[in-house]
Amino acid sequence: MSDFNRRAGAGRSVAHRVARFTVAATLAASLMGGTVLAQTVDLSQWSPEYVKSIAGTRSFDAAKDCGLVTPNDYTGKVSYWYTGPFEADPQISHDQDKAFWEAFKAAYPNIETDVQSITYNELLDKFRTALLGNAAPMVVRLQILGGVEFAAKGYLQPITPEYAGFKTEDFWPGALKSVTWEGQTYGLPTNNETMGFIWNAKIFADAGLDPENPPATWDDVVAYSKQIKDKLGIAGYGLVAKQNAGNTPFRFMPQLWAYGGGALDEAAESPTYKEVWINSDASKRALQAAYQMYVVDKSVPVSALTNTQAENQAPFIANQLAMVISHPAEYARMRDLASQATGADKAVADEVVANMRYGLLPAGPDGKRAVVFGGSNIHVVKPEFVEGGKVDEPAVKALICMWNSPEWSTKLAWVGSNPGNINGFLTEAMKERLDTIPFLDVTTSMLPNGIPFPVIPEAPEIMNIIVPDMMQNALTGNMTVDQAAEDAAQKIQAIIGGGGGI
């Protein structure tokens, strides 16, 4: 064969490959827009009963579906960092993680994977360090607010759900907000979770309250907490107000939002994150409610100023605390604590577990219900910051498509979260989860009320420092409620203005 023919042959071969890929991508997009991965979940009907009714009604073939995004015989390499299961995690988390990588290998036998599982507390710092040395992985999965810092600093590639063969409607609007920076999306939600309101039905009954229904509003929480304290002499609500602790905003912000307030305008339909709401009348009412419970009624633990939810677990299992806000995994934790109790404590602990109830978080005065949207997002790093200087786009798309498929989005979120892909709620795996994890239907039904923290790089400082500081200033009497809110507003304004003191 002549050189010309060889070159022409090689050129035709490349052209064929490009054409085949383009056809496949187009077909994938049309199919995704059609019936295969099209959203068929009606969010307007969302409730614990609806969630149960749709579970197990459809099946998906992730390998086949993702083969339309990246051909299953594609040869390439992808590097990936994430937080996988560790020693303390339940066995099922390990099993599902292992099963995913086996399934990926089966679907894409020629894609080499370079994977690192890094602990939750270390991942952000290691990722920052790797970026500084241009040694980052191609793909990274970060906690829900972790990515905005890197998007703002220009490290992440702008990607949309369509990048990996999905549609915007396949994901929660609140979750997509968390991957959007200055109008551009920089990732896909992999899993989302919310919390529920947990109470001890027996304590409610002993205090003269309806044991099977939680307080409907936050004002009811204040009243219930006082009634429990007055009648039984134990703490009502497990207020959490520790400084420098992420637990604090996760429990206080739902209250703030329910009253119509916020730190910035994160609770608005289209937030700009430029308006400060922390000193609005609504926010002050929420702070006043916490003040009422801690200072006036003294119906919450005195130790709230140094408590995280972990410190609430012991009094709850000891029947000394009536109400807390937490994840579905809290039930498993209480059962674990009860199994370790001995003697007379065991009878008490077993009774507490038997009387645990989960419900929706209370609403505000106007009926608004809110919860923090938690979870993780998956991002693609720009080539110049990746080790080797290249991103294998088809391999990356294959990984993200598989990870976010309805089947794996559900299985990889088995224990404490929910699929980021809404179609995951239709799968058999979701049905099995609902049947085996108590109260999952309740926390799942809070998802439509989910609001992510402000999606700005300054959010950790605002949420973990300013908001707890405001609470502590008010609860210790260091400032009045008004002064504490105004003080927080000044600090937040300075921070989003690019300044801020120490």
Binding site: E149, A152, K153, P315, E461
Partner: protein, 321 residues
């Protein structure tokens, strides 16, 4: 020595003292020794010198959360001005001084008392010495969590005991109270480190001549007089070193305040090291955190200078003799 010859008096002129070589000459004379320590010096340059250099450099830059470090903005001494002009800085500095001074004095005195008590022979001395070492060997993290529960404002063991003994009708609020929180943490810190002072001073007590003590006793000196005029002068050197080490340790003490209170309530248990951590790692204010760290570094180097002087004072005197 002078000698007389006729009317003139000649005095011998003393020979000039040998000129001590300067540091450069001494280093050159020992140049072969430096080859042996070169690998360690290289490692130190990488893991200590370069981070110090980078921290100093970072302290002159503004590092907003929305900008990568590669695009940091030079702002001269602004970070230092921000720190030194902040009322929070002075509040934290005062708290750091209180924390360091009280922890050092109390740990030293308690350690001295235990060392003196354990210096004499009695049945069970070895076991008691071992028990008193437990706070030092227990992990600071574990100790912090245990003490957090002992102090718990609602269910703490100390509070429960106080109520049961009828000393109060409700548990004591140790760490959820802005007035008592810092002092409560100081108690934990003293408990954790008095064993260190005890061990150092016990070693020092071995150097006190028994004959002097017996002579003082024979002369009618009281126990206090024997301690103050015989024992303590011999402990001066080891006491100086112990106090300096305690000061350095307390200045850098991070675990107890961070785990037990997170710096709260309302910043009442915030000290320099926890504040630096908060600024750098929780608030992403790398430039300001670096400037703060440089200030701490200057203080630590100053204390380190005095420590080395105290440690090597005897060596210089012996070398000169």
């Amino acid at each position: 020595m002078s000698s007389v010859q006729g009317q003139a008096i000649f005095r011998d002129v003393p020979e000039p003292a040998p000129k001590r070589p300067n540091i450069g000459q001494r280093m050159w004379a020992s140049r072969a020794d430096y080859l042996y320590v070169a690998p360690a010096i290289v490692v130190m340059l990488i893991v200590i010198a370069y981070p110090i250099y980078y921290t100093i450099e970072l302290s002159f830059f503004n590092t907003p959360a929305s900008l990568s470090l590669a695009n940091k903005q030079f702002n001269g001494l602004d970070n230092y001005v921000t720190i030194l002009s902040s009322p929070i800085f002075w509040k934290v500095t005062w708290q750091t001084v209180v924390w360091t001074v009280l922890s050092t004095i109390l740990a030293f005195l308690l350690g001295l008392g235990c060392a003196l008590a354990l210096h004499r022979e009695f049945a069970g001395r070895a076991m008691l010495r071992g028990l008193l070492l437990i706070p030092w060997v227990v992990s600071a993290v574990a100790a912090s969590y245990v003490w957090k529960w002992l102090y718990h404002s609602d269910f703490g063991a100390i509070g429960a005991l106080v109520v049961q003994l009828g000393l109060s009708d409700k548990p004591i609020n140790f760490v959820d109270n802005t007035t008592t929180a810092l002092y409560s943490l100081i108690v934990v810190n003293v408990w954790k480190e008095f064993s260190f002072a005890m061990i150092m001073l016990m070693a020092g007590l071995q150097t006190v001549p028994d004959t002097l003590l017996r002579a003082a006793q024979v002369d009618g000196a009281s126990p206090w007089q024997r301690f103050w005029h015989v024992t303590f002068p011999h402990l001066r050197g080891v006491s100086t070193v112990t106090v300096l080490l305690l000061v350095v340790q307390n200045f850098n003490s991070f675990i107890i305040p961070f785990i037990m209170t997170g710096g709260g309530p309302v910043g009442s248990t915030q000290i320099w090291i926890t504040h630096i951590y908060e600024l750098a790692f929780l608030r992403q204010r790398w430039g300001v955190g670096a400037a703060y760290a440089v200030l701490l570094f200057i203080i630590m180097m100053t204390l380190g200078y005095f420590y080395v002087r105290a440690l090597t004072r005897g060596d210089d005197q012996r070398a000169g003799a």
